[in-house]
């Protein structure tokens, strides 16, 4: 396989395209509401109508407006059909002949779609995730060829540095810097790992990317491997994502057969293999050191850093570990240049971010917006606000590691630093909208229960501290807590945040701290009067001294 073959494959695929394309969403959301049957009916209807020469029915990845699935989109007229049932599917084909359609029509010009800017999701809903040819037709693997034949590994890293891309797993570490560190690390053997252990409640960005466009992740990993000098990659996917696992495996097999993975990629000395590792359901395995322990076949518990994986990671070798969305950004950055990418977003947060909109909001689904988009635009314009005329109370970002942003801060631009300032984090992209029927203490208790269940048990503050915090929150909710308990709650949050071993424990108190910061009243309203409070008459002119 060389560039000529790659371009020939692209031309062949494009030449085989039919004038009309019916795109059916076959990502997990739509499949769960009979999306597969809809696609089969559409194929049958096209065949029955004798339109096989003119119409292609293509199974594609996520079409984003998940709440209205199964979704079907018809090109080139840009018609969107919502809640398509297998029974009605045929009428979409009838409509091609000018007949009346009985399926509900969606509005592809809704702000939900028009306000999006796609880099990571550019192929999502367009290419067939089960066919590598479809990805090649969308300029896939050209960046890899270009890097292998026209760029030194150093130049690849420089392009990444210029792009200003920051890690999309949540912490926002500059990707170029990480790549440069692994590149410079001494070691004959290096590894590349893709962290696909997405586990935040309400988050499904990475799953969608893997189900919709697995090759972009593989190409990103191959580019990373070339840049740092690795020859083996692992994708750590959670077992709860069977469709993503199946599509990744298909993609890896196809890429090997085509010669874009394996030995002598694009007839260069570069060789790179990718294998899947399936997680067994522990949230903590999304933490990089625990993830690597799990890949090594050990118990998935974190270890203290430093040494960081870039220095000593998988089997003590220098390891490049990035999240799914980070890798999915890479091919576009190398195809179009780091400067192009740096032109999108804000001063310190470049590019776009994918969010999974969920909760009390009209349009739930997947969105990709430029960094710096105000929360209000995302929640009110794109999301359509809370359903049934309710008003939005808060937006939760960052899952169990993040915080709640109250409605009065909705004009905050979504970027790493602004969200940090509000005591929340960007996180991996879960965005849960809450309306005024939500009790914030309940939210805090829910996330603390999650962290308590998912704590690995290695360090004491996280293992025993989350249990105590959860107990206190339950006590507050039961109306049995006093102001003393609230003080103890804050003291414990401080302890767990500052003394836990890994990111899980260090961020576990965030939902409590942020709800205490913005909704303290809700806690206080649930408190009992303090039975030990003594009111003393204080003589005038007394200086108060705090006694510990």
């Amino acid at each position: 396989m060389d560039l000529k073959d790659l371009l020939a494959l692209k031309e062949k695929e494009l030449a085989a395209r039919k004038p009309i394309v019916i795109r059916c969403c076959t990502a997990a959301g739509c499949l769960s509401s009979r999306g597969e049957a809809v696609k089969e009916r559409l194929e049958r209807a096209v065949y029955d109508a004798g339109l096989g020469e003119r119409v292609e029915v293509r199974g594609v990845g996520c079409l984003r407006l998940c709440c209205q699935g199964p979704l079907v989109q018809v090109d080139p007229d840009n018609l969107l059909y919502e809640r398509v049932t297998p029974e009605e599917a045929g009428s979409i084909v009838d409509a091609l002949n000018g007949e009346k359609v009985s399926v509900a029509r969606g509005n592809p010009n809704d702000p939900f779609f028009t306000k999006q800017q796609s880099i990571v999701l550019a192929n999502s809903g367009v290419v067939d995730p089960n066919r590598i040819e479809s990805y090649v037709a969308a300029d896939g693997y050209q960046a890899l060829h270009q890097a292998l034949h026209e760029m030194t590994p150093k130049a690849v890293v420089e392009e990444m540095l210029a792009s200003g891309l920051r890690g999309r797993g949540g912490a926002g570490y500059p990707t170029g810097l990480k790549w440069a560190t692994v590149q410079k690390a001494a070691g004959a053997k290096k590894y590349v790992i893709c962290n696909a252990d997405e586990g935040d409640p309400g988050a499904f960005m990475d799953r969608s990317v893997l189900e919709s466009d697995p090759h972009s992740v593989l190409e990103g990993m191959a580019l990373g491997a070339y840049a740092v000098g690795a020859d083996q990659g692992y994708i750590y996917v959670r077992a709860e994502y069977p469709l993503a696992i199946a599509r990744l495996q298909t993609a890896i097999n196809q890429a090997r057969r085509l010669g874009v993975l394996g030995s002598a990629v694009f007839e260069s000395p570069f060789h790179f293999n990718v294998d899947l590792r399936i997680g067994a359901g522990a949230f903590v395995c999304g933490e990089e050191t625990a993830l690597m322990a799990s890949v090594e076949g050990k118990r998935g518990t974190p270890r203290p850093r430093p040494p960081f994986p870039a220095e000593s990671g998988l089997w003590n070798c220098p390891t490049l570990i990035n999240n799914v969305e980070t890798f999915a950004n890479v091919p576009a950055i190398l195809r179009r240049g780091g400067a192009w990418f740096a032109g999108i977003g804000t001063e310190r947060s470049k590019g776009t971010k994918v969010f999974a909109l969920a909760g009390k909001i009209r349009n739930t689904g997947l969105i990709e917006v430029p960094m710096g988009t105000p929360l209000r635009v995302i929640v009110e314009e794109m999301g359509g606000g809370a359903p049934d005329g309710a008003s939005i109370k808060a937006v939760q970002t960052g899952g169990p590691s993040g915080g709640c942003i109250p409605a009065e801060h909705l004009d905050t631009p979504v970027d790493y630093d602004s969200l940090n300032k509000l005591g929340s984090i960007m996180g991996s992209g879960g965005m849960i909208v809450m309306d005024d029927s939500t009790r914030m203490v309940d939210v805090a208790r829910f996330f603390m229960e999650f962290c308590m269940d998912e704590s690995c048990g290695k360090c004491i503050p996280c293992r025993a501290g989350t249990v105590q915090i959860h107990g206190l929150l339950a006590k507050v909710l039961a109306g049995e807590a006093t102001a003393r308990d609230l003080g103890q709650l804050e003291e414990l949050c401080d302890l767990v945040k500052n003394t836990s071993l890994c990111g899980l424990g260090q961020t576990a108190p965030n939902p409590v701290l942020s709800t205490l910061r913005f909704f303290r009243r809700e806690y206080e309203e649930l408190l009992l009067p303090d039975p030990f409070a003594v009111k003393l008459a204080v003589p005038e002119g007394t200086v108060s001294v705090e006694i510990r």
Binding site: G457, I460, R463, Q468, L492
Partner: protein, 238 residues
Amino acid sequence: MAVRTLTIDSKQVSAEEGTTILGAARDAGISIPTLCHLDGIYDVGACRMCLVELAGSPRLLPACTTMVAEGMDVRTQSDRLRRYRRMILELLFAERNHVCAACVSNGHCELQTMAYSQGMDHVRFAYQSPLLEVDLTHASFGMDHNRCILCTRCVRVCWHIEGAGTKNVSGRGTHARIISDLNQPWGMSETCSACGKCIQACPTGALFRRGMTAGEMERDRTRLEFLVNAREKKQWNV
């Protein structure tokens, strides 16, 4: 080996490169409290008792796994650190059933000693009082989960000193337990070599030699009769 100089609690200290802060401090006669650390086995940084402050770092660092570096300015004692250490101990005492009065290790228990030395004189947190097992299936040893603090010293000596690989951790969070083999009764373990290293490594009374626990001594009244007969009737055979 290159030598690094650093400051620990305002004291100038020199240490070989690759030494931990804990090692350097102990060489200089500065004590840092620890629970999961045991000389001779690798450190895991799990108990968080040895957290120290490092000038210029917003994070607290475990002294047992952080290597010394040139010019480091370390503080091992502060109000904040003392408060955190006491709270960690309180969390441990509230987590399982640590009843010193009825424990084989009463008086020579590292957890108990630590609580005394750190000034933890009462527990403010809710006692969890979990229902836990005591494994007395092994011929020589016993394991009382009520007293385990999950420091994993036993696991580390079993794997890396004895090389038997019997002890391990199962479950997670508050459900984590030290197990033998594939969570079998200890007495049925096929890998345990009965070397007793885990007993010696345990900081509390969780792992103990059988026959030593409170209530395990049985009286042998026939012995009295034997002594009397021996003295009065010069009868030495039973």
